[in-house]
Amino acid sequence: MIKIIESKIESLYLSTREFFIFVGEIFGLLFETLKCTVTGPFYFSRLMEQINHIGYGSTSITVVIGLTMGLVMTLNFGYGLAKFGGTLYVPAVVSLSLAREMAPLFTSLLVAGRVGSGIAAEIGAMNVTQQVDAIRALGTSPVRVLVVPRFWSLVISLPLLSALAFAVGILGGMVVCKSEFDIVPGFYLYKVFSTVKFHDYMSGLVKSAVFAGIITIFACYKGLKTRDGTKGVGLTTTWVVVTASILILVTDFFISKIFLVIW
């Protein structure tokens, strides 16, 4: 009996220790990324390349998700509120939801799947083929070469993608409002711009930037830790998508709470 308790305590101790090491390494990578950014050299061309690849490459899928969100939300809110005679509130409800929550959240979840898995697979494959070792052996830092450009490219791109998703979502909502509820575009836009305030936009943008940081740091961390060949790369990508998505959802609650308290 004592032996069973001892082994349980030991396994609990080991997993707790492992967890704290993991958290420490994640923050260590974040610190190293920020340090490499300010100490230079900074690879501007690689940043632009990554913005093109990660940011610009995600625009089409962002437009699709933004438009779908706008159409579906407007339709549902419209019919829901119509029962209480509140159809005219649809533009306000849709635009506020899109700006504060839906656009940054869904865009980030989508990007975590598309970009997070891509980053993890790319760095993971480089790791198992000794390319990361080669970067180190050639006297350069994998964090500076691989992590910094990806981190900043997504921190810059994701808020812009969220803004795009918001704009397209509003457009989709406008189309549904006109066709289904007979709300004219002029009134719709007036309600949107009078409802959504500066801090609502900021809430969405800040969230997106934080989510971008979460996606890249976790993807790069896991990529740099990848072992066991192609199987390891597969496991890494799955882990990154699941972990980043969960963290985005959890973090979203806390950032929303903070913004509601301070504004």
């Binding site: 000794q130 390319q131 080669a134 052996a137 006297g139």
Partner: protein, 245 residues
Amino acid sequence: MNEVILELKNIHKSFGNNTIHSGINLTLHKGESLGLLGGSGTGKSVLLRSIIGLEQIDKGEILFSGKRIDHLSENALIPFRIKISYSFQSGALFDSINVFENVAYPLFEHTKFSYNQIKDKVAKMLKLIDLEGKEDLMPSDLSGGMQKRVGMARAMILNPEIILYDEPTAGLDPANTLNVVSLMQKLKLKGLASIFVTHDIPSAIMLCDRIVVLHEGKIAFNDTPEKFQNSEDPIVKKFITSTKE
């Protein structure tokens, strides 16, 4: 004998319960070529990786030109990684960039040469490895032997003082093996010190001034290629026989 450029003192290394090195002592002199032989899993590549700091040793000292380098941080290791180059077994070329960008990578990172100067240097280096005019090819367009030679060119481009070859002839056909060995000979003639990890005994005998055999975490033999060939040491004899089979 030239002065000692690299010294390994009492190196110990384990992965979990698996002991790899248990007290390795080794010296490399300026311009010397040292062949590092041993069965699979005896820690030849781990020793090379430890020298350049890709693996941390558990105990012991690694000295480059008298300066201890085994305890240095990644940033502090950078100047030594410029002087000690590592040629990976697979070539480890960056597969998303072409041959020119691969070979030029260390120059872009560590020198202030203009683009045209770098272009000239890369062209000269590619000529040396018999891959003239192949700048625009991607690593996936190259054969295994060509990839290894490009990897060696990349390791050589900053004119290091030591080059560590990790099985450069492994998996190559005789023609490609000859190409790689002749390139190594050219570099040796330039006065470059090297450690050559291999199972390819004929190439090691042809190239090296000294042969070291690793066995069960220790050095079992350390002498000239002639003495290696005529050695009565059972470990050496067994190793030579097993590689012939």
